[in-house]
Each structure stands twice: as structure tokens, then as C-alpha cells.
């Protein structure tokens, strides 16, 4: 039996047409319960108009991130017992993004910045060539491997105080993506990547506060990726080539 039979859950409701306001629900408590389970219970049993987003429920798709007691988290992998404040939880939409409605944040700025950071593949070969053999032990490959498990959940983007202060800043996820491509032997345009991360809001805007690395649910290290981009752009400035 759980210690409590009910949780007090405060959900931030609203959107562009209605100011955000908190609404409190009493939700049955269970031994094993994630924050996403709690939000789903409210939508299915208390208020079907509650808007939120999820898909895989196993920490792979990056859809269900929300602010939980003021901290960005992947809600499908966050146990209630881990975040409970007394008997209460507060759930809100991700920080640093526009709200579509209730708990669903508009991810457009987040993904637009992936493109702005040149987070796209620049092929070295055509479809008619043989597939390039990649040596898995090179330093570059290790650097790229360290960042490729990003699930685009935007937890780092919401945690970042530089994004909060500077709306132009590309953010940790986009810059980490740029760093993985920069280190990818199959990427043909490293200069385009370094140019993209050197402009307004690029990697040089980062203050190295490290919230991205602290809050990344997949335990990735965007901070080190951003520092790598700073080193690479500085090296290029002094005439160094990759």
C-alpha cells in the first residue's frame, strides 16, 4: 500500500488566448506511478480538455517533457516518488518555449534552431558510391557518439538560462547536433557548420552554466559539445584546420 492515497497535483492551464492559471486536482496515488501517468489520469478521469503531448512512454521519443516542480523533466521516466514535494506536484509547460495550450509547448523555435545551427547532413558521397567504412575508435567518432543519443526532448533548452535571457541563442541541443556532425567523417562541410554556430546567438553566446548537462535526461553532455565548438572556431580563426 502507498503511504498516501491521493496526490495534490497543480497543473498550469492556458495558452495564447487565455492567461496561464493553476488548476488543482486530487489524483489517486499508486506505488509505481510516473508524472505522465498522473497527467494522463487527470485527462482521462477529471478533465478531458487537458492538453498535453506524449507518444512512446519509454523515454525514446522526446515528446512528453514538462516542467515538474519548476524543473524540466521527461515525464514518462520520472517517478512521482522522486519529485513529490510533501504530497504535491506542480506540472507546467516547458520553459523558454511558447505555449500552444496547457502542457503542450510549441517546439517550432527549438527545431528551427537545429536547422539554423546547420544540424543537417552534408554528404561526402552519392548514392552510387559504396558506403564509407567508419573507424569506431577515432577521437572524432567518440566525440560524435557522445551526442547522437539526443531525443530532441528540449529539456536542455528549457533548463538553459542563456536561452531565457537571449532569444536568439541556438541552445544546447542544436549546438550539440552541430558538434556531432562536425566530428562525423561522413559530413563534407565542416566550414558551413562552424559558420552557422559563429553568428548571432551561436555557441559563443553560451556562458558555460551547464544546466543542459545537469538536466539532460539521457545524461548527455551538451556543455562539452558547445565548448568543443568554441575551440574549433577559435582554432580555425588562428588558421588551424581540422
Amino acid at each position: 500500500m502507498p503511504e498516501r492515497d491521493h496526490l495534490t497535483v497543480t497543473v498550469q492551464r492556458g495558452g495564447p488566448d487565455a492567461p496561464m492559471r493553476p488548476q488543482t486536482f486530487e489524483v489517486p496515488a499508486y506505488d509505481n506511478q510516473t508524472v505522465l501517468d498522473v497527467v494522463s489520469w487527470i485527462q482521462q478521469n477529471a478533465d478531458p480538455t487537458l492538453t498535453y503531448r506524449f507518444a512512446c512512454r519509454v523515454g525514446m521519443c522526446g515528446s512528453c517533457a514538462m516542467m515538474v516542480n519548476g524543473v524540466p523533466r521527461w515525464t514518462c521516466r520520472t517517478h512521482v516518488s522522486k519529485v513529490l514535494d510533501g504530497n504535491a506536484i506542480e506540472v507546467g509547460p516547458l520553459r523558454n518555449l511558447p505555449v500552444i495550450k496547457d502542457l503542450a509547448a510549441d517546439m517550432d523555435p527549438f527545431f528551427d534552431k537545429w536547422v539554423s545551427a546547420e544540424g543537417m547532413h552534408h554528404p561526402t558521397r552519392t548514392r552510387d558510391d559504396a558506403i564509407e567504412a567508419i573507424d569506431p575508435v577515432t577521437m572524432e567518432r567518440q566525440e560524435a557518439n557522445a551526442g547522437i543519443e539526443c531525443i530532441n526532448c528540449s529539456v536542455c533548452y528549457s533548463a538553459c538560462d542563456t536561452v531565457a535571457g537571449n532569444p536568439d541563442y541556438l541552445g544546447p541541443a542544436a549546438l550539440q547536433r552541430a558538434w556531432t556532425l562536425y566530428n562525423d567523417a561522413k559530413d563534407a562541410n565542416k566550414d558551413a557548420i562552424l559558420d552557422a554556430v559563429s553568428g548571432t546567438g551561436g555557441c559563443h553566446s553560451c556562458h558555460s552554466m551547464g544546466s543542459c548537462t545537469t538536466y539532460c535526461p539521457n545524461e548527455l553532455d551538451p556543455l562539452s559539445a558547445i565548448l568543443g565548438l568554441k575551440r574549433a572556431t577559435t582554432k580555425r580563426f588562428f588558421g588551424g584546420r581540422k
Partner: protein
Amino acid sequence: MSEFHLYMAQRLSALVMAPFVIVHIGVMIYAIQGGLSAAEILGRTQGSVFWFAFYGMFVVAVSIHAAIGLRTILGEWAGLRGGMRDWLSAVIGLGLFALGSQAVWAVTA
């Protein structure tokens, strides 16, 4: 000037300032041994090409470094954007340079 060039200018000016700060503090500790007087300071600095070059370069580095740093703060903390922010930080940089170079000239000329 791009964000990257401002970043490099701020890092390079920091690199220049680091030894200057150490010597500046070292001389301060040395100079106050046995009391501090304007005559003693001016005796060391007046007519000295070394101290003119030392504090002259120091002032240039400080003006560049502080103006770029304050430009970031004006953007993130005061919410200024675009030309207004660039103009204000340029004024701060030129102001620091004017005040600093006047002081350097006053004690070394």
C-alpha cells in the same frame, strides 16, 4: 563586427590583461610598504615610458573587454537589442578609454 569577432576580441583582451593585473597588484603591494604618498607614485611613473606603455595597453584592453562584456549584459539582463545595444556599449568602451587614457597621461607625462 560579428559575434565571433567580439568573442575573440574579449578573450584576447583578457589574455593581455592577465599579466597586467598580476603586475598591477604586485606593484600595489610593494608600493604601500612603508606608507603611501602621491610623491612616491609620481616619482615612479612620471616620465616613464615603461609605465606609460604598461597602463596605456592596460586601458585599451580594459575598454575592449568591459564594453563587450557589458554589451552581453545589456542584451540578456536589460533586454536591449540591435543598434541601441551596440551603440551604448561602444559609448561605454570609448568612455572607459577616455577616462583611462586621461589618468595614464596625468601620471606618466
